[in-house]
Each structure stands twice: as structure tokens, then as C-alpha cells.
């Protein structure tokens, strides 16, 4: 049995740390080359549309279904808790604020990372392992512009749109439970909500959050695919990394953004 001395362990730990830094540096250069520099979006508008479809439209089902269910659960739980304070009428604003400020952007980003993010990583990793990316290079096309850039922009555009759709269907789902089932007065559900939800503070901040998340999740997904070991094991490891890193990043950024937006600085 090999005994790893303490020194050896420290060395390995430092090595791993340097690897992480190196990967971060690579991913920044990667992003820079893909988004900026000559070439714009390779493949033109048509490719972007194609990617928007596969990344955005295909995620609609899971987002809408999740949104409706989460909205309904929020209304249900909220009603339970609020009735002990005699404030059932506030359930509308509770559902709306929770969705707009937090759950809308965050849950959509997490679901997106799992569904679209892992699909992107797997697709690009597969292209790498079957040497399609090398072929593009040899034909003289920059794979960063032709393959990566459209997917990046598709993610940047799709996620905020999905987050808004999530919030909207969630609020409607909440209204079915609250008004049609639990008997909250329809007028008060909506008017209390309108009174307490501000466009600039709540809706806009939620949108800003989802734009930030879109940037981070898509960047991680696309880079992990591009950087992976071109073997099937490498691809599956990369897909796992995408989901884990993206999720952690979303939750961490959410805290920072919430503190900045809603904290009292």
C-alpha cells in the first residue's frame, strides 16, 4: 500500500487548486473568443434560430409544468400559514413576490441547467470526441464561432424568457388553488398583489437575476462540453460537472444578488 505523506497530500491539493484556476482562465479566454472578435455569430441568424429552438422551446414543457405546480403549492402552503394570522387575503401577493423575486429566476435556472445545460454539454462533448470540431477547424471554420457562439446567445435569450413564463404560470396556478379551491376572494388575490408588487423592484430585479443566471449557466454548460476529455467517460463526467457547478453558481449568485437588491445597502 502506498502511504501518501502529508507533504504529498498538500502538493496534490495545491495542484488541484492550480488546475481549477487554470480551468477558470481557459474558460474566460474561451468565452472571449466565442463572443468577441471578428466573425460575429457563425452560421448567421438561421443557426441561432435553430439553437433557440433546441435550447428554449424544448425546455418549455418542463418549465411550464414546474411553474404551475410550484405556484399551486405556494398558494396552498401560504394559505395555511397566513390563515393563522387571519391574513389569507395576502396569499396573492405572497405567491407573486416569492415567484418574481426568487423562485422564478432560481428554479428556472436550476431546471435549465439540468435539462438544457446538460444537453448542451453532451452535444458539444460528443462533437469533440467524434472530431467534428477538429474537422471544422481543418476546413477553416472557427468552431467557437460556428458551434459555441449560437448556443451561448440562445441560452442568454432563452433563460430570461423561460423565467418570466415560469412566474406567470406560477401566479395563475396559485390563483386556481387560492380562488377556485380555497375560497380566497378573487378581487383581493389580484388587487393585493398589484398593490404590493412593484415593476421596478420586483419584476425587473427578477429579470436581472435571470439574465445573470443565463450568462453563468450557459457559459458553464458550453465550456464543460468544449473542454472535456473526448471519451464517453469524459463526456458523462462533464455533464455531471455542468449540472453541479451551474446549480451551485446559481444559488451562490442568488444570495449575492438578493443581498444587493433587497438588502439595505
Amino acid at each position: 500500500m502506498r502511504k501518501t505523506s502529508l507533504l504529498e497530500r498538500i502538493r496534490r491539493f495545491g495542484h488541484a487548486g492550480i488546475d481549477v484556476l487554470a480551468a477558470f482562465g481557459r474558460s474566460t479566454i474561451f468565452l472571449f473568443h466565442a463572443l468577441l472578435g471578428r466573425g460575429g455569430i457563425g452560421g448567421g441568424f438561421g443557426l441561432l434560430v435553430k439553437q433557440l429552438h433546441s435550447v428554449g422551446v424544448m425546455s418549455l414543457v418542463i418549465i411550464v409544468v414546474s411553474g404551475v405546480f410550484i405556484g399551486m403549492v405556494l398558494a396552498l402552503q401560504g394559505f395555511n400559514i397566513l390563515s393563522s394570522y387571519g391574513s389569507e387575503q395576502a396569499v396573492g401577493q405572497m405567491v407573486a413576490l416569492t415567484l418574481l423575486r426568487e423562485l422564478g429566476p432560481v428554479v428556472t435556472a436550476l431546471l435549465f441547467a439540468g435539462r438544457a445545460g446538460s444537453a448542451l454539454t453532451a452535444e458539444i462533448g460528443n462533437m469533440k470526441s467524434t472530431e467534428q470540431l477538429s474537422s471544422l477547424e481543418m476546413i477553416g471554420v472557427d468552431p467557437l464561432k460556428y458551434i459555441i457562439a449560437p448556443r451561448l446567445w440562445a441560452g442568454f435569450i432563452s433563460l430570461p424568457v423561460l423565467a418570466m413564463i415560469f412566474s406567470v404560470v406560477g401566479i395563475w396556478g396559485g390563483s386556481w388553488v387560492a380562488v377556485d379551491w380555497l375560497g380566497v376572494y378573487e378581487g383581493s388575490y389580484w388587487s393585493n398583489m398589484q398593490n404590493s408588487v412593484t415593476f421596478t423592484d420586483d419584476v425587473l430585479n427578477g429579470i436581472i437575476k435571470s439574465v445573470v443566471f443565463a450568462f453563468v449557466v450557459t457559459w458553464i454548460a458550453v465550456f464543460q462540453g468544449y473542454d472535456c476529455e473526448p471519451t464517453s467517460e469524459g463526456i458523462s463526467r462533464a455533464t455531471t460537472k455542468t449540472v453541479v457547478y451551474a446549480s451551485l453558481a446559481v444559488l451562490g449568485l442568488d444570495f449575492i444578488l438578493t443581498a444587493l437588491m433587497f438588502g439595505d445597502f
Binding site: 433557440l52 428554449g56 387571519g86 435569450i157 413564463i165 398589484q194
Partner: protein, 155 residues
């Protein structure tokens, strides 16, 4: 052709997004495309503004006629000075009107309610409402209640 369906799908997707945004703006947050009405500024001094925040409503007879734009401490009188912007069309407030800090509902937020006085002279831009009633602080209420009960028992 496959391309057409793709494009239509994406178009609908983006349309749904814009629709969602509009819904959120109008029905959920109650953003109303109201014409920016002209406003004028009024001040009011309170002993205690506890709980009142900037952007709180200013109402009269329950109708919203403006909002609070600033709250600061007046160094000389040690009272809280509240700055309000009121709609120009409500420009006939007598100088002895009262401004009170009220609570909306039991746990609700604070807002300012104005009740008219009887004077002939009217408040103008930059004017001050002198007759004010401060925010009801829970501790004072409890104190008052206890005092009452004690004095009743003492009798």
C-alpha cells in the same frame, strides 16, 4: 419543411415571453400607463414617523392622491420631516388640514391620510402641513392601556 416549423416554434416562444412580460407588468404589478400628472411638493413634521417609508401612499378620504418622496430628521426641532408629492389637481387643501400616519390593516404598511380643515387660504408648492398626528407605536398603546387599567383599579 423542417426549417419553417422550427422558426415558427421559436417565434411563438419569444412571443410568449413578451406576453409574459406584459402580463407581469400590467396585471401583476399594476403598472398603469398613467399620464405623468403634474405634482406639487408639501412638507409635514411628525414627532414619530415610525414605520413610514419612502414611496408610501398619501391619501385623502381613502383615495390615493400622491406619495411620500423623502423622510429626514429636522435638526432644529428634532422632528421627522416628510416630503410629499401630491397631484396638482388636488390643489385646494386648506392650510389647517391634518396629516396622520395610519396603518393599512392590522399588519399592514404605513401611509399618510390627509383630512381637510376649514381655513380659506390654501396650501401651495413648498407649503407645510402643521397639524400632524404621529404614527401609533404599539408600546405606547400597551402603556396607555395598562395605565388605564391601573388607574381604574386604583379608584
Amino acid at each position: 419543411m423542417q426549417n419553417r416549423t422550427l422558426e415558427i416554434g421559436v417565434g411563438l416562444f419569444l412571443l410568449a415571453g413578451i406576453l409574459a412580460l406584459l402580463l407581469l407588468a400590467l396585471r401583476v404589478s399594476g403598472l398603469s400607463p398613467s399620464p405623468s400628472t403634474e405634482t406639487y411638493k408639501l412638507y409635514a413634521y411628525f414627532d414619530n414617523i415610525a414605520g413610514l417609508t419612502v414611496r408610501a401612499k398619501v391619501t385623502m378620504a381613502g383615495v390615493t392622491i400622491g406619495k411620500v418622496t423623502a423622510i429626514d430628521l429636522d435638526r432644529d426641532s428634532f422632528t421627522g420631516r416628510v416630503t410629499m408629492q401630491l397631484e396638482k389637481r388636488v390643489d385646494n387643501l386648506p392650510t389647517d388640514s391634518t396629516a396622520s400616519i395610519l396603518t393599512a390593516g392590522l399588519l399592514g404598511e404605513k401611509y399618510i391620510g390627509i383630512s381637510v380643515g376649514g381655513e380659506e387660504t390654501l396650501l401651495k408648492e413648498g407649503g407645510t402641513i402643521h397639524d400632524t398626528q404621529s404614527s401609533l407605536v404599539l408600546e405606547d398603546l400597551i402603556g396607555k392601556f395598562l395605565l388605564n387599567t391601573v388607574s381604574k383599579d386604583a379608584k
